[in-house]
């Protein structure tokens, strides 16, 4: 294979000034080419390697259901045929020839491709990435072959029962825009992908003005700037901002709290997952800092949450995390309860959540410790240049580089009041989705229905009755009533109305009796009557229907529920 001589152009030849350095760490160097390509060089001579990473603002957030998973497939196709290396074999031969370690990832708001190689082969590495990013062939045969490989990746994830819970939760949390938080994608979509669809993605997002080229390692930034300008300077910009042309739709807020139960024969221990919509870097930057600090308060072993759940043996693990995002970062709480104390663990978790905004939930020392821990984590992160570069590019996609470079100083400014505001704005009393993963049979043996029942739609709560009967205790009705009561408990500000239906031929009083029986059951479960709208005029809530057929009659022996919005 051809080995090019390293000919670096001197820094003086550069046509553009470097971006103002005052806010950057000493070893960070940034620059923007005329075509909009941003360049970041991080000089770090820890080992004689360099990692080159091209980052594109693409990923799940750009995908509607019809494209779900295609950013991910595109990422796979990057490592295949292109104009310079016209087959995957040729591509891999070049990898061998250059001595490259390569990888790529697709996430919600970033797709990145990176190679690590000798510091002496940076130019060849830049050339190699240039061919792949600008001139992919999307060979039909190669695409067809890659589809099952991506499906294989999906099947591996699916084989872990936790994925079932995670995926179901995501569907409930992100609702109509689930695809925009599902980077692995829908493999039916991946199977049906065409070169045309790949080109649609390319022609929307794969332009220099939507990309960052980062180099981290034992390099000289001036030489790297010059080489990038030489190789990438003629990459034509798109002339548009893809996010203005194809805006990302806003995620619909979670309207009501919801409980989800996933049963799997392969789940060995119960596991809870609780998700809220959190802040994002477009709308509430201060809360993103408060979120990180608060997560680090809660993960301290002397934190109240840990002491009351793990130290007491109610749970084996509890973790609270926030994922920074440009478009609604999720707040996630994961708890592995002791199977013998699952209800107690659930209740103590909620007790804690309800105390999170109280003045004395954490000490000043814990607040400071959290900030210091985050700073020290940064030090650990910087130790590994080949990985550190990914951290920095993550921030470029989901916030900005200055957001990251000022991150530590902004964390130090977070106050107790900021955290209380964050908790009140995004967590306490806010609608959420909570799921539990159970092995088949655990539901019964642990009696989880007594405090955690799968939420149904209001239509699904409809209770059906036998002729002239009040069979509320019948299994299906009891299950629905239990679930409805749980729903009312987890949505304390929601009101409902109920309507009882009867038909000609049933005894006259049965409609009212059903209404009263359901009302009594709700009151017995602790649901305030004031939340049941219409009880002052019960007569209006009982309907008698004319029904000719047995089918119609059966369908009208029922009590229905609906949410009454304020």
């Amino acid at each position: 294979m051809l080995k090019k001589l390293l000919i670096f152009i001197g820094a003086a030849a550069l046509s553009l000034p470097a971006i103002a350095q005052e806010k950057l760490p000493d070893n960070f160097f940034m620059k923007k080419l005329n075509n909009g390509l941003e360049i970041l060089v991080i000089e770090d001579a820890n080992v004689p390697l360099a990692t080159i990473e091209i980052v594109v603002k693409n990923g799940a957030y750009t995908e509607d259901p019809e494209y779900n998973g295609l950013s991910h497939l595109y990422e796979h196709m990057f490592f295949k045929a292109n104009k310079t290396y016209p087959s995957q074999k040729a591509f891999l031969d070049r990898v061998n020839d250059l001595g490259i370690s390569f990888n790529g990832t697709t996430s919600d708001e970033r797709v990145n491709y990176f190679v690590t190689l000798s510091k002496d082969k940076v130019t060849e590495g830049l050339d190699f990435i240039n061919s792949a990013i600008r001139y992919p062939l999307f060979d039909t045969t190669e695409m067809r072959k890659e589809n099952p490989v991506v499906a294989g990746e999906f099947q591996r994830a699916e084989s872990n029962p936790f994925f079932g819970l995670f995926d179901r939760m995501n569907k409930e949390v992100w609702q109509d825009n689930y695809s925009r938080k599902n980077p692995i994608g829908d493999y039916k979509i991946i199977y049906s992908a065409t070169a045309e669809k790949m080109n649609v993605i390319k022609n929307k997002y794969y332009f220099p003005n939507n990309s960052l080229l980062a180099v981290c390692g034992d390099v000289d930034h001036n030489k790297v700037f010059a080489e990038i300008e030489r190789i990438y300077g003629d990459w034509a910009p798109s002339g548009f901002d893809p996010f203005q042309k194809w805006p990302i739709p806003e995620f619909k807020p979670i309207e009501y709290a919801k409980q989800v139960v996933i049963e799997s024969p392969n789940a060995q221990v119960p596991l809870f997952m609780l998700t809220y919509h959190g802040p994002d870097t477009r709308n509430d930057i201060n809360a993103t800092y408060a979120a990180d600090v608060f997560s680090y308060i809660l993960q301290q072993k002397n934190a109240k949450l840990y002491k009351e759940l793990v130290e007491t043996g109610l749970a084996f693990q509890v973790n609270v995390g926030y994922q920074t995002a440009k478009y609604v970062g999720p707040i996630q709480i994961i708890m592995v309860p002791s199977p013998r104390k699952i209800k107690e663990a659930y209740e103590v978790l909620w007790k804690n959540i309800n105390e999170w905004d109280s003045d004395d939930y954490f000490s000043d020392e814990q607040l400071q410790t959290a900030k210091d821990m985050l700073s020290i984590q940064e030090e650990y992160g910087k130790e590994k240049p080949s990985n550190y570069i990914h951290t920095v590019t993550f921030w470029w996609c989901s916030a900005t580089i200055p957001y990251y470079t000022n991150y530590e100083s902004n964390l130090q400014k977070v106050t107790r009041e900021d955290i209380k505001n964050y908790v009140r704005k995004y967590i306490k009393g806010k609608p959420y989705v909570m799921g539990v993963m159970l092995r088949d049979g655990m539901k019964k043996s642990m009696n989880t229905n007594s405090f955690f029942a799968p939420t149904m739609s209001m239509e699904e709560y409809t209770l059906n009755f036998n002729l002239n009967e009040l069979n509320l205790a019948e299994e299906k009705n009891a299950e629905k009533m239990n679930s409805l009561i749980q729903w009312l408990k987890i949505n304390p500000s929601a009101n409902i109305s109920l309507e009882a239906y009867t038909h000609d031929g049933e005894k006259k009083s049965i409609g009212s009796e059903r209404y009263e029986a359901v009302l009594a059951a709700l009151k017995n479960a602790g649901i305030a009557e004031t939340r049941i709208i219409g009880t002052m005029n019960k007569a209006f809530q009982v309907k008698k229907v004319k029904a000719d057929t047995e089918e119609l009659k059966a369908a009208n022996r029922k009590v229905t529920f609906s949410i009454v919005k304020k």
């Binding site: 250059l98 001595g99 697709t106 589809n147 490989v149 060995q268 301290q300 130790e383």
Partner: protein, 435 residues
């Protein structure tokens, strides 16, 4: 702040000579402090990594006590010491952003400490107390035991963890590696606090343990600290367990039915002893095999996202092939055909040359963090000498292609297959073919 990403499985190959690696050799030093071994590597960065290694691993306990070493280290590192209550210990570590944790593996255990250099003294003080006088409190014992049982159960849900246990139990039946380092529900139900205490006392001696320190630490100060720490440590009388080479001469199948989206398969093959010339040749052979399986199974036939082959350089070594696939019959046949081909045709000079280069990337990437270096140095020391870690690249580079082809012929005689998945998808005959 966490990131959720999907990784593209990569093939790592590098082509360039390893002249610079000699630098690291110069800086690693073996110091004897009052007869106690310390492997020391000064660095310029702000992170310090210290590990106290305990030799033996699964050789240190019987099958019915499997998990006892991990349990002992969990309690020692989490449960407080004579000077620091549990709460005080956690508070101080959190405040400094320091970590002390323990883990026990097949061949060794280690108690690891990491901190930034300005907090070295204060973190060491806690580390020293964890080593010399852990509390081993009854309540902590109960809590950690229950947590370990939960971890064991969680591991059963994860097909890779479960397949690993299946493969090790099958290939190393009645040998040390058929013990589960994290314990089993049965063993954890029987282990007592006295078992834990006596295990810790048994292994924590000068002969069976040593220290690895990587960081920007003054050598003289380090020596003083070590002297103080080992002052009351018993001399001990440790004889390392002899490594056992597998003798798999024909193929077998260990199947288990589990309904999942895909099927998990692993095959265990004989391997040469660690640190021998043959072991470096085997490392190269299975590195090349990895690339070939990637090409044949993934690139050409789209049968799997994750085919793999690797040599496990443990005290009791073995080589492995691995695949997850919805078409097990075809994928296994490709693996077997490739192994047969390698045995008859061997690898080319170019393949061997490229593979040698590939290890240089891995080597340097492994040098990026002090924690990875302390782990690599200690791991090699347990199995013979830390120098095997320092000299890894030069040892790899010495191997001629003919030796790579010779180990393939010698060691690939049969495969002990483990299969976790849909049993109706494949017939046992495919696995049992002669190589």
């Amino acid at each position: 702040m966490k990131k959720i990403v999907i990784s593209f499985l990569s093939a790592a190959v590098l082509l360039w000579t390893g002249a610079v690696q000699a630098q690291s050799k110069k800086t690693v030093e073996e110091i004897m402090v009052d007869g106690y071994k310390v492997i020391y590597k000064p660095t310029a960065n702000k992170i310090v990594s210290v590990r106290l290694f305990i030799k033996g691993g699964t050789a240190n306990y019987t099958k019915d006590k499997e998990g006892v070493e991990n349990l002992a280290l969990d309690i020692a590192t989490n449960g407080g010491t004579s000077k620091y209550s549990k709460s005080d210990l956690n508070r101080q570590l959190d405040r400094m952003g320091s970590e002390i944790s323990g883990t026990s593996g097949l061949d060794h255990a280690n108690i690891a400490m990491s901190c930034i250099s300005k907090n070295f003294d204060a973190t060491w003080a806690i580390f020293e107390d964890v080593i010399t006088s852990p509390l081993f409190d009854e309540a902590e014992f109960k809590k950690q035991t229950e947590a370990m049982v939960s971890n064991v159960q969680q591991g059963k849900s994860d097909p890779d963890t479960y397949l690993n246990d299946m493969a090790m139990n099958d290939a190393f039946a009645n040998l040390n590696y058929d013990k589960k380092t994290s314990g089993s529900e049965e063993s954890l139900a029987k282990i007592t606090l006295d078992d834990v205490k006596s295990h810790y006392k048994k292994v924590m001696n000068k002969k069976q343990t040593f220290l690895v320190v990587v960081g920007n630490i003054d050598k003289a100060q380090l020596i003083e600290k070590v002297k103080k720490m080992i002052k009351s440590m018993p001399e001990g009388n440790y004889t390392p367990a002899k490594g056992t080479l597998l003798t798999i001469n024909s193929s077998t199948l260990n199947p288990e039915d589990r309904k999942m989206a895909t099927n998990y398969i692993r095959g265990v093959i004989n391997g040469p002893a660690y640190g021998t010339e043959e072991s470096y040749a085997m490392q190269l052979a299975f590195g090349i095999l990895y690339d070939r399986l990637f090409d044949e199974i993934r690139t050409k036939r789209s049968l799997s996202y994750a085919p793999a082959a690797y040599y496990q350089s443990n005290v009791n070594p073995c080589a492995n092939v691995y695949v997850t696939t919805t078409d097990p019959a075809q994928a296994v046949q490709v693996i077997i055909d490739e192994l047969k081909k390698v045995k008859t045709e061997g690898y080319s000079e170019t393949e061997v040359k490229n593979q040698k280069s590939a290890y240089i990337t891995t080597y340097y990437m492994g040098l990026e963090t002090n924690a990875a270096q302390s782990n690599g140095l200690g791991n090699a020391e347990v199995k013979g000498s830390y120098k095997n870690y320092v000299d890894f690249i030069s040892n790899i580079n010495k191997v001629p292609a003919k030796d790579v082809n010779a180990v393939v012929k010698k060691y690939i005689q049969g495969i002990r297959w483990s299969y976790l998945g849909d049993l109706t998808k494949v017939k046992s005959d495919i696995f049992l073919q002669k190589l």
